[in-house]
């Protein structure tokens, strides 16, 4: 039986309210007698954070060691994806709720990768790990031992939500959203403030990209801003329309997954692609056009 949606009034305003759950909803669901076919997944920047304590029953999916291919710079293929999910007790019918650190960057990234494989019911925990912790909710170090289930081997469908470098070159002149910090956008910084230099040889942004740092979509407590606030940023201020063909990018595609989620599921944009090659590819590519300077 499908797990019901969270009918939180804040979510009801969004284009796809079924993509979010609140901490209240999740806590109630987990403590109910019959939580249903629900698996909670934690996905963090720090590979050990889950192990220090996580939502009871949650399993870990690491963005790097689980979702990325070990050799090629790409996501895992269908067999590997099926194995990773099957080991975690996730079938194609399971409702997956993902949460993580850093305002859900990696959770949104994992959700986006699950979407590449067309997983039907995948939701984000609004506010992520930080809100769950701030509210003093239960954490445990007990790692669940899910029964191995069969997840089907399904093709990855990149085209509709993922842009590769050539797609971006063909897209120039249409809306691009650069979600990095202003210093990265202007070219002064080659990485996030306080983050390691990850080896981009050129600073700046893709020509024509608008600078809309991802964090503008998040409230102080890490939850998403409400629909009216988001529309004021992306529609009124930036002049984007839900029918626009939009590409979002950052450094390696995690922060732009957050913005992809906002545009697609909260504001109902129909054609948003995440360019996961992002600046670590564009800023190193020979001969591609670059702009520098502030917006």
């Amino acid at each position: 039986m499908p797990v019901p949606f969270d009918d939180n009034p804040k979510f009801a305003e969004y284009a796809h309210p079924e993509r979010l759950v609140s901490t209240d909803w999740l806590a109630a669901r987990l403590s109910s007698d019959d939580p249903g076919d629900l698996v909670v997944v934690e996905s963090d920047e720090d590979v050990l954070l889950y192990d220090t304590g996580h939502i009871p029953g949650a399993v870990k999916v690491d963005w790097h060691t689980d979702l990325n291919d070990r050799v090629v710079r790409d996501y895992v293929g269908p067999e590997q994806f099926a194995r990773i999910l099957g080991e975690r007790g996730i079938t194609r019918d399971t409702t997956v709720v993902i949460y993580g650190d850093k305002s859900n960057w990696w959770a949104a990234y994992a959700l986006w990768v699950f979407t590449l494989f067309g997983h039907p019911d995948v939701r984000l925990l609004d506010g992520g790990r930080a809100l769950w912790v701030a509210e003093g909710r239960e954490l445990t170090r007990e790692v669940p031992a899910p029964v191995l289930v069969e997840y089907p081997v399904v093709e990855r469908h990149d085209a509709s939500i993922r842009a590769l470098k050539d797609d971006v070159l063909a897209h120039l002149g249409r809306p691009l959203v650069d979600v990095r910090s202003p210093g990265e956008y202007s070219g002064e910084l080659l990485h996030m403030p306080d983050y390691p230099q990850e080896g981009a040889l050129r600073g700046g942004h893709i020509p024509g990209a608008r600078s809309v740092p991802w964090a503008r979509a998040a409230a102080e407590d890490g939850t998403f801003k409400n629909r009216a606030e988001l529309e004021a940023i992306y529609l009124t201020e930036q002049g984007l329309a839900p029918s626009d063909d939009v590409v979002a990018y950052c450094r390696i595609g995690e922060r732009s997954s957050h913005t992809w989620f906002v545009l697609t599921h909260l504001l109902g944009f129909e054609h948003v692609r995440n360019y996961d090659g992002s600046w670590t590819e564009w800023g190193n590519s020979v001969g591609v056009p670059i702009e520098v300077g502030s917006p």
Partner: protein
């Protein structure tokens, strides 16, 4: 000072830790790293609340600070034989980084200046952690080691 090259053995305590890690399965290496993370000593009182007295490791993806003290500067001990004391601060939200710091603390704290400077620069890659946490994340440990050695070198010259 001879350069610390690949192939140079690790100091005994650090070498034992490396053996402990590499003898485990990849999954158990993460568990051991968590134990190290849990055991990172607190900063002594004189450093608490004073990040400006410590050096930030900018290569790490979280706010990590460290300092290396060299003991016995005023007595008759020759600089290479003076003892090194290491202090780290890393947030609970960054357990991997805490684990790296804790490994370096357990393996290097109390060694002599000579011994610390002789630690090979590739030491962080000898724990079999590349497979467990990804090589990308190991760069933070290499950066901590480099900053420790630089501080120690500066303290005795």
């Amino acid at each position: 000072m001879t350069p610390a090259e690949a192939g140079t053995p690790l100091p005994e305590a650090l070498g034992t830790i490396a053996e402990d890690f590499t003898s485990l399965s990849v999954r158990d290496r993460l568990t051991l790293l968590l134990e190290f993370s849990d055991e990172l000593p607190e900063l002594p009182e004189r450093y608490q609340g004073h990040p400006e007295l410590l050096e930030q490791v900018h290569e790490c993806q979280s706010p990590v600070f460290l300092t290396a003290e060299v003991e016995g500067a005023d007595d008759a001990v020759a600089p290479p034989d003076r003892r090194v004391r290491l202090y780290f601060q890393a947030p609970a939200e960054a357990p991997t980084t805490r684990g790296f710091a804790s490994i370096l603390h357990a393996g290097l704290d109390g060694l002599t200046v000579h011994e610390v400077l002789a630690v090979p620069d590739d030491a962080p890659f000898r724990f079999g952690l590349g497979e467990a946490v990804s090589p990308l994340r190991l760069r933070g440990m290499a950066a901590m080691l480099a900053r420790i050695k630089r501080q120690v070198r500066e303290a005795v010259t």
